[in-house]
């Protein structure tokens, strides 16, 4: 297996893909949003229980490739307990990682996604659940979609 491919399908990712965390509807959710990536058929629903401005609980449901499923799973572990602003900041970091391959400043599991940058067509897969989560945070009802011209 090439270095690029083993970078893409890192142990962390395979693990989250095989045993996704926080998967399933959240019965106590007070926010949710849907995201899709129509050009590949990936789908993702994100459920939040916001307490004030803080994400008390989070879960996801969806279908898609290993990258998108692992990303959603990992995201839930990262966003739990964060405020809206902190979530935004994390996404910015994550976006930087998947588009440039740059390692994050603080050590974090998000670094597992650095391999994505070598596969530009897969960036959408990695960011879909994040877009849905941010929409849910903003209370947007429009489905998130990764179909902008770039990313």
């Amino acid at each position: 297996m090439s270095a690029e491919l083993s970078d893409l399908y890192q142990q962390v990712i395979l693990d989250h893909n095989r045993r996704p965390r926080n998967r399933g509807r959240l019965p106590t959710a007070n926010r949710s949003a849907h995201g899709d990536n129509p050009s590949c058929g990936d789908q993702c629903d994100v459920f939040l229980r916001l307490e004030g401005d803080r994400i008390a609980e989070i879960s996801f449901e969806g279908s898609g490739c290993a990258i998108s499923q692992a990303s959603a799973s990992l995201m839930t572990t990262q966003l739990k307990g964060k405020t809206s602003a902190e979530a935004q900041k994390l996404f910015k970091e994550f976006h930087e990682i998947v588009t440039t391959g740059k390692e994050p400043e603080v050590i974090s599991d998000l670094a597992a996604f650095a391999g994505v940058h070598a596969f530009p067509a897969r960036i959408k897969c990695a960011t879909l659940s994040w877009h849905a989560a941010l929409n849910a945070l903003r209370g947007d009802t429009v489905a998130a979609t990764t179909e902008s011209h770039k990313d």
Binding site: S2, L5, G41, C125
Partner: protein, 410 residues
Amino acid sequence: MPSPWLRIRDEFPILHQEVNGHPLVYLDNAATTQKPRAVMAALDRFYERDNANVHRGLHALSMRATDAYEGARSRVATFVNAEAPEEIVFTRGTTESINLVASSWGGANLRKGDVILLTEMEHHSNLVPWQLVAQRTGATLRYLPVTGDDGLLDLSQLDRVLTPEVRVFAFTHVSNTLGTINPVADLCARARRVGAVTVIDAAQSIGHMPVDVRAIGCDFLAFSGHKMASVTGIGALYGRKALLDAMPPWQGGGGMISNVDFFESRWKPTPERFEAGTPNFGDAVALGAACDFLDTLGREEIRRHDGALARLAYERLSALPGIRVLGPKGERGGLVSFAFESLHAHDVVTFADEDGIALRGGHHCNQPLMRRLGLTSTARASFYVYNEEREVDALVASLRRTLKFFGLQG
């Protein structure tokens, strides 16, 4: 003379490269085919010797370019057995051809109460243009169902949906996801009985088997050059002359008018009426050369070759654990789609690429069909004249490795 099949891979320079350290195995031919030397040479030769704008030109190059362009039209006309070159309108490809029919014929002939009949296996390009014209005219859409994983049209439903309100019946010749070859001549005969105009999407058949518009008995037929060994940017709409002659223009501009005043204009007859602006005569020449190339191989032989590889792939793939292989078991076009229970098409395609194998993964512009089959995406292997059995072996071996990596050996 040695068979043109013997050294066929030599005709395709692109095949002789390594991808990720492995010899390229190109199995994405339903998306676009590769181009033989003969086609690229015809294009280069045209631009090195004869290039000038066509029509209206009285100098030597312009006359040669016009002859080359109209020669390509005649060549395409004989390729599909049209009655006359005027029945061939050059377009960018299948999608533009269908938009032309839907907008011009549909805009002039459809109204509230009329029905546009499609099938559940249509590509977005034979679906969205009809949705747009339905919105514009008030006509409604209706669908002939597909039977399921074996992917045949449910002909038992045909009488129910093909009623006298159906003004147009548009369907694909070969499904780009299922591989199904539809009984197009029968469907056209049935449509004629209720007075419906027929539009055939020949994108997946034109380069793979004989396509004879008179034997089929269709009114319109749309196809793309880039899926039949020619370059992107050129394709054609075949239309029966009586129908084309009665249609209003679609795009306006130079070349399609017979007279322009400041406030109104008159149009040229078909096919010029539908070719506004400088036509893509360069790529039309390449399309003519592709027709020659395919006829040298023999279209019956191509059908046999591509179909045999697809059936072999169908069989071999069916033996893999957790797989669902779509489309008919027997006779099929040169492609096969499949989905794994626990492995997404994107992962399949990415791992195949690692072995130098080019597959397509996704909804293949067949979202409604996918939903109907309870899928969001499949991986697809599609074959052409240069593919070989050993490439099916390579595909199956690669898929086995991928399944192993994900712990899905079964």
